[in-house]
Amino acid sequence: MTQSRFSWQQLRDSQLFWPLLALAMILLFNLFFTPGFYNIEIKDGHLSGFLVDILNRGSVLMLLAIGMTMVIATGGVDLSVGAVVAISAATATVLINPALANELISSEELIKDVTSTPLWICITAALLVATLCGLWNGLLVSRGKIQPMVATLVLMVAGRGIAQLITHGQIITVYYTPYFFIGNGYLLGLPFPLFIALFVYLCTWLWARRTAFGMFVESIGINARSSFLSGINEKNIKLVVYTFCGFCAGIAGLIYSSNVKSADANNAGLNLELDAILAVVIGGTLMSGGRFSLLASVIGALVIQSTTTTMYAVGVPAMAASAIKGLVVLVVILLYSEQTKLVLTRVVERVGARS
C-alpha cells in the first residue's frame, strides 16, 4: 500500500503530470464528442487531419512557450511576444514583397512568384529585428530595473505601432513559394513548423540542461539576490533570457506569416502572448519563478492548441472560443493552487487511511 501511495505522490509531483492529464482529458472529450477527430488521411503526399493540424498550428505556440518558460523561470514575464510576432512577420514580408520599392506594379506582377530580397536575408533580418526587441526588453528589465510586466507592456503597446510603420499600415501579401515552405511545408509527411519547434526545443534543452545555464535561471527565479551574492551575473542572465524570448517570437512570426501568406500588423499574433503565458502556467512553471520544465510547457502549448481546435471542431465560433478557453484556464489555475493541492492531499490521505 505504501508502495502505491509513494508512486502516486511521485506522479503528482512530476511537472509533466498535470499538463498530460489535461491533454488526455481534452483528447478523451474529443473521442466521444467530436466525430472524425482521430481520422488521419494522406492528402497530396502528407498527413492531414485534426491531430496534424494541432501539431501544425501548435508549433507557433510551442516556440513562444519555450522562450516564455525561460523568462518566467527568472520570475519575469514577457507580454510583448505577440507584438514581436507581428514585427517579425512585417519585416520578413515587407522584404519579400516588391511593393516595398514603392514602384508602380501591376497586379500580375504582384502575384508573381518573386522576392525582392534573397530569402536568407529576409529570414535573418526578421530574426535580427525580433532579437533586438527581446534585447530591448532585457535591457529595460535588467539594467533599467523596471518590473518585467511593465517593461514589456511598453513594447506590447508600442510594438504593433512599429509593425504598422514597417508595413506602411497595409496588410502585406506575399506570393513567394519558397517562403511558404516555412509555415506550410511538409517533411516526412509531417508539417515543417513542427520540425522547427522540435529543433528549437532540443537546442534549448541542451542549453538549459547540459550547461549550467538552466540552473542559473532557476536560482535567479528562486532568489535573485542570493544568486547575485553567490557570483551569478544576474543581470546578464536576465538579458540573455529576454533576448532569447524575442528570438523565439521572431521564428514564430516567420512561421505565422508564412502560414497565412501575409502580415497584418494589427492582428498577427493577437492574444498570442496570453496563450503563451497560459501554456507555461499549464506546464506547471510558477509565475513567481524557479523550477521550470521546457517539455511541460510544450505540452501546455499542445493543451491550449487542442482546446482551440476542439472548439472549432465542435462548431463554436472562433471568437466565442475564448470564453471556454478562459474557463479551462481558470480551472487549471485553481487545480494548481496550493490551497487545492492541500485539500487534495488531505482527501488522498484519508482515502489511504481508510483502505
Binding site: 510594438g159 500588423a265 496570453l274 470564453a323 478557453k325 474557463l327
Partner: protein
C-alpha cells in the same frame, strides 16, 4: 524643512504629468486653430469619458498592488449584453443599466475572491476573466447590435451647457465621469476604506497585522473596478449606440498606461485618483494632436503612449529609488534572519570548492 522636501517628492510625478499636459496643450494651442476653442478641451472629457471611469477603478486596484486586465472585455460585454437585452428582449432601459452594473460588480467580485482565497496572481486571474468576458460577447451575438431604445438615444444626444462658456458643452457620459472622479477622490483620500487601500498597497503583511480586513477590502476593490468597468461600458454603449464584442480592445492597456502616467506606482500604496485624470487627459490629448495633425497615422498614438509610459516609469523609479533602497535594505535583513538554515549549505559549498 525635511518634511517639506518629502511632500515635494511625493507630488513630483503628479506635477510632472500636469506639466506635460500643459505643455502639450500649449503646443496644440499654438499650432492648430481648432484647439483654441474651449470646446476642444471639453471634447477631451467627452471622448475619453469611458476611459476615465474605468481608469479610476483601475487606480484603486493598482493601489492595492494588483492589476485588472479584464476591463476592456467587461466594457465590450456590457455593450453587447445591454444591446441584446434592450433590442432582442425589450427590457426597460433603467432595469438594463442596473443589471449591467450588478453584472460588472459580481464579475469583479468573483475574480477578487479567486485572487484572495486561492492566492493566485491577479494578473493571471484577470487574464482568464478577460478571455471569458470577450468570448461571452460572441456567444450573445456575433454581429454588432444597434441600440434603438428612446431613452438611450436621448441620453446620447443630450448636451449639458457649461456656465460661463458660450458654446461649450459636455455629454452626459462626461458628467458621469466627472462625478465618478469626485466620488473616487473622496473615497480614496477621505474615508477609512481609502486609507485601508493605501495601507494594503504599502505593505499587505503589516496591514493584516494591524487588523485591517485585508481579504474583504481586496475583493471589494476588484468588485469596485468591475462596477466602474460596467459603468464605463454603459457610457460607451450610449455614445456609440450599439454593442459588439470587438469594441474597446486594448482599453485595459490604455487604462493601465493612464494610471501610470498619472503618477500611481505599480507597486501599490502610492498615487492619486486626481493624477489618473491627467493620465487620461494626456493620452486623449496625444490622440487629439495626431488627429489635428492629419499627416501622422493613428498608430503613432500607440507608440507615443508607450514611450510616455516608459518615461513616466523612469521618472517614478527615480523619485522612489531612495525609498525603495531603504525598503530593500529592511527586506534583506529580514530575509537573512528567515533563511538561516540556508547559510550552512552555502558555507559547505564554499569549503567544498576551496
Amino acid at each position: 524643512m525635511t518634511d517639506k522636501l518629502k511632500i515635494d517628492r511625493k507630488f513630483m510625478p503628479l506635477l510632472a504629468t500636469i506639466a506635460v499636459f500643459a505643455l502639450l496643450y500649449l503646443y496644440g494651442f499654438s499650432q492648430y486653430k481648432g484647439m483654441r476653442q474651449p470646446q476642444a478641451f471639453f471634447n477631451l472629457f467627452i471622448n475619453n469619458a469611458f476611459l476615465l471611469i474605468t481608469s479610476i477603478g483601475m487606480t484603486f486596484v493598482i493601489l492595492t498592488e494588483g492589476i485588472d486586465l479584464s476591463v476592456g472585455a467587461v466594457i465590450a460585454l456590457t455593450s453587447v449584453a445591454s444591446a441584446a437585452l434592450l433590442e432582442i428582449y425589450g427590457l426597460n432601459p433603467v432595469l438594463v443599466i442596473v443589471l449591467m452594473l450588478l453584472m460588472g460588480t459580481l464579475f469583479g467580485g468573483i475574480m477578487g475572491a479567486i485572487i484572495h482565497f486561492f492566492k493566485v496572481q491577479p494578473f493571471i486571474v484577470t487574464l482568464a476573466g478577460m478571455f471569458f468576458a470577450r468570448g461571452m460577447c460572441f456567444f450573445i451575438s456575433l454581429d454588432a447590435i444597434p441600440i434603438k431604445d428612446p431613452l438611450y438615444r436621448t441620453m446620447a444626444l443630450s448636451r449639458i451647457q457649461i456656465p460661463g462658456f458660450e458654446r461649450a458643452f459636455l455629454s452626459l457620459g462626461a458628467v458621469v465621469a466627472i462625478v465618478v472622479l469626485v466620488v473616487g477622490m473622496y473615497v480614496a483620500h477621505f474615508t477609512r476604506y481609502g486609507r485601508s487601500i493605501y495601507a494594503i498597497g504599502g505593505n499587505e503583511q503589516s496591514a493584516l497585522l494591524m487588523g485591517l480586513p485585508v481579504g474583504r477590502i481586496k475583493i471589494s476593490v476588484y468588485a469596485l473596478n468591475g462596477f466602474c468597468s460596467a459603468l464605463a461600458g454603459i457610457v460607451f454603449s450610449i455614445s456609440l449606440l450599439s454593442g459588439h464584442g470587438l469594441y474597446a480592445t486594448n482599453v485595459e492597456l490604455d487604462a493601465i498606461a493612464s494610471v501610470v502616467i498619472g503618477g500611481t506606482l505599480l507597486t501599490g500604496g502610492q498615487g492619486y485618483v486626481f493624477g489618473t485624470l491627467f493620465g487620461v487627459l494626456v493620452t486623449g490629448l496625444i490622440q487629439m494632436l495626431i488627429q489635428f495633425n492629419g499627416e501622422l497615422s493613428s498608430w503613432w498614438t500607440r507608440i507615443a503612449v508607450g514611450a510616455l509610459t516608459l518615461i513616466f516609469i523612469g521618472v517614478q523609479s527615480l523619485f522612489t529609488s531612495s525609498r525603495k533602497k531603504r525598503q530593500a535594505l529592511g527586506r534583506a535583513t529580514l530575509k537573512e534572519s528567515e533563511s538561516r538554515s540556508a547559510v550552512p549549505i552555502e558555507d559547505k559549498l564554499t569549503t567544498d570548492s576551496a
